[in-house]
Amino acid sequence: MKFKVKKVDRSEGLKEALYIPGIAVGLKHTMRHFFRNIVGKKDVVTIQYPEEERPVSQRWRGRHRLTRRDDGFLKCVACYMCETVCPAKCIHIEAGEHPDFSVEKYPVRFDIDELRCVFCGLCVEACPKQAIRMDTGVIGMAYHSRESFNFTRDLLRDAYTPNEKTKYTDADLPKPPDQQSALPNSRGIPAP
């Protein structure tokens, strides 16, 4: 098949041999940037991070959240699909029967080890109920201990309540006895 070839230009003339013209052209550009930035910060692209934040795109995959139904209860039905598809094996789910028959199953525990998570978004694609989302827009997660990265169900749950008259409040969700027992260890295996 035909294709076009272009030889790069590596010629070198008197202008290069004198050193000064090359440096002068470079100085022209650097000085332009220098004066524009000294006078009015016209070209500056850095942002002052903690005060200013870069707008992230709509599709940005940040920290997970668990969405809720209209009545305020979690949408998750503990079907284990996200746990299965997760390449990093960072999701740990334990299903439980809810006293209300209309709810079928719900996650007694839903823990994500955000340190293990690779933020690939496969769990979001796999979820059949739109129960897990990564659209919180959280860019940086920085904490002082490893334990802080273990996000339990209650931490992941969406803070937003769509309906004022909710059937279930937060208090209705059965909780694990203590935070420690709710957390999987770093390999995703539930603690004994």
């Binding site: 590596r10 299965t84 694609e125």
Partner: protein
């Protein structure tokens, strides 16, 4: 390429003295000075991947070098063999982490070849656009790092700034900047958002400006030319024997581009030139990459003109998840979805090798399937591996300061080298 152009490498040139790992120089007999061994890397500012070059110096001249790699080995192949097919895609982002889209595309294309399916045309164009953006980011990073190490720090930051413009584009489509996980088997996970292609054109114009500015700042500066010219020369024949591909081989004057040699996606509908060098030194590599970015910009502009409307994912049930509407609405859809997630993809038994033109050269995926949900073998053919192997030959006889010029111009990426 003409058959008569290439001669087979002679037995003389293949003498084991050039085989990396076999160079242990003897001290010169007529002097009372000794060969000095100096370790360059892994904890060294110029080794922007992690690699160790044990260098033997006579004065400042390099008389021997032993590269040692493996500091970033993460067991990509082992991990892939123990994952489902789809779970490998996020892992490929971490191979060549400055052009993750190309890795995604390469792996997905290999699996699609295994399935024997063709993806929709819009998806193909989308892959070309995103892949070329990714190639530009790759070259920007490489050139920036290369120039920085010979002192052009301003050039470095300007190019990183340009790269940032493009990363934000990638982010708009994929939701990630480096770890993008964008392609799927049979198409792409997401289509472009509204107004994206217009945005691409605007940003490419900005990138082009930065490239021209950087070009004038550095490439025509005599100091830079002195640093790069005739440094790390490798002859055409040797480069081929070393398995050089991509910009490095093109710098030697061989117009071998997989986009043209093994046409994939829709590259044969697009018009672009293959930049080649003359000598095969660091300067040629620099210029070839510089020119390739301009060509990539033109490819993207053409692809934007030609991209058709349509789906970005095949309708094949065994490849992708069903539509969300079906999943939420119908029991069949839900069952399909459940089976897809739980059992994964099942490519037919067989083996394929799929090369694509990665940012750095020929990025090949060799996959073996036995028809089950896991790959039997998922092998990456990393382009860098050959380059680092040729490092002693490139550096021999030069000065210690030339190591960085050579090493910068071969663009070694640790994630890809060690997998």
């Amino acid at each position: 390429m003409n058959a008569s152009e290439l001669t087979t490498i002679s037995a003389e040139e293949l003498k084991p003295v050039h085989l990396p790992g076999a160079i242990i120089p003897a001290p010169p007999e007529d002097s009372d000075t000794s060969i000095m061994r100096i370790e360059i890397g892994p904890a060294h500012p110029a080794m922007h991947g992690i690699v160790r070059l044990t260098t033997y110096l006579d004065g400042e001249q390099i008389v021997g070098m032993v590269p040692e790699i493996g500091y970033l080995h993460r067991g990509f192949e082992k991990e892939s063999e123990n994952s489902k097919w789809i779970q490998v895609i996020p892992y490929t982002d971490r191979l060549n982490y400055v052009s993750p889209v190309l890795n995604n595309i390469g792996y997905s294309m290999a699996v699609e070849k295994l399935f024997g399916v063709e993806i929709p045309r819009r998806a193909q164009f989308a892959r070309v656009i995103m892949g070329e953006i990714s190639r530009i980011t790759d070259h920007l990073t490489c050139l920036a790092a290369c120039a920085m190490e010979v002192g052009g720090f301003t050039f470095f930051l300007w190019f990183i700034k340009a790269r940032e413009y493009l990363y934000e584009l990638l982010e708009q489509v994929t939701g990630g900047r480096v770890t993008i996980n964008w392609t799927r088997f049979g198409g792409n996970s997401t289509d472009f958002p509204d107004g994206f292609l217009k945005e691409v054109e605007v940003r490419l114009e900005k990138v082009r400006e930065v490239i021209e500015e950087g070009d004038q700042l550095v490439t025509r500066n005599k100091i830079f030319i002195d640093r790069m010219k005739n440094i790390g020369v490798l002859s055409k024949e040797k480069a081929i024997s070393y398995g050089f591909t991509g910009p490095l081989l093109r710098a030697c004057g061989v117009p071998y581009d997989i986009r043209r040699a093994d046409p994939h996606l829709v590259y044969d509908e697009l018009d672009f030139e293959i930049p080649i060098g003359e000598v095969g030194d660091s300067y040629d590599r620099f210029l070839v990459r510089m020119e390739e970015m301009r060509q990539s910009i033109s490819i993207i502009e053409q692809a934007i003109d030609k991209i058709p409307y349509g789906p970005v994912m095949t309708r094949e049930r065994y490849l992708g998840y069903p539509d969300k509407k079906e999943v939420y609405g119908s029991i069949e859809g839900l069952i399909d979805h459940f089976k897809m997630v739980m059992e994964g993809h099942h490519p037919p038994a067989g083996e394929v090798y799929q090369p694509i033109e990665g940012g750095n050269g020929e990025l090949g995926f060799y996959l073996v399937s036995d028809g089950s949900g896991d790959p039997v073998k998922c092998r990456v053919r990393p382009p860098c591996f050959n380059y680092v192997q040729a490092m002693p030959e490139l550096a021999l006889g030069h000065y210690v300061a030339d190591i960085i010029a050579i090493f910068g111009s071969i663009n070694m990426i640790g994630g890809e080298l060690d997998r």
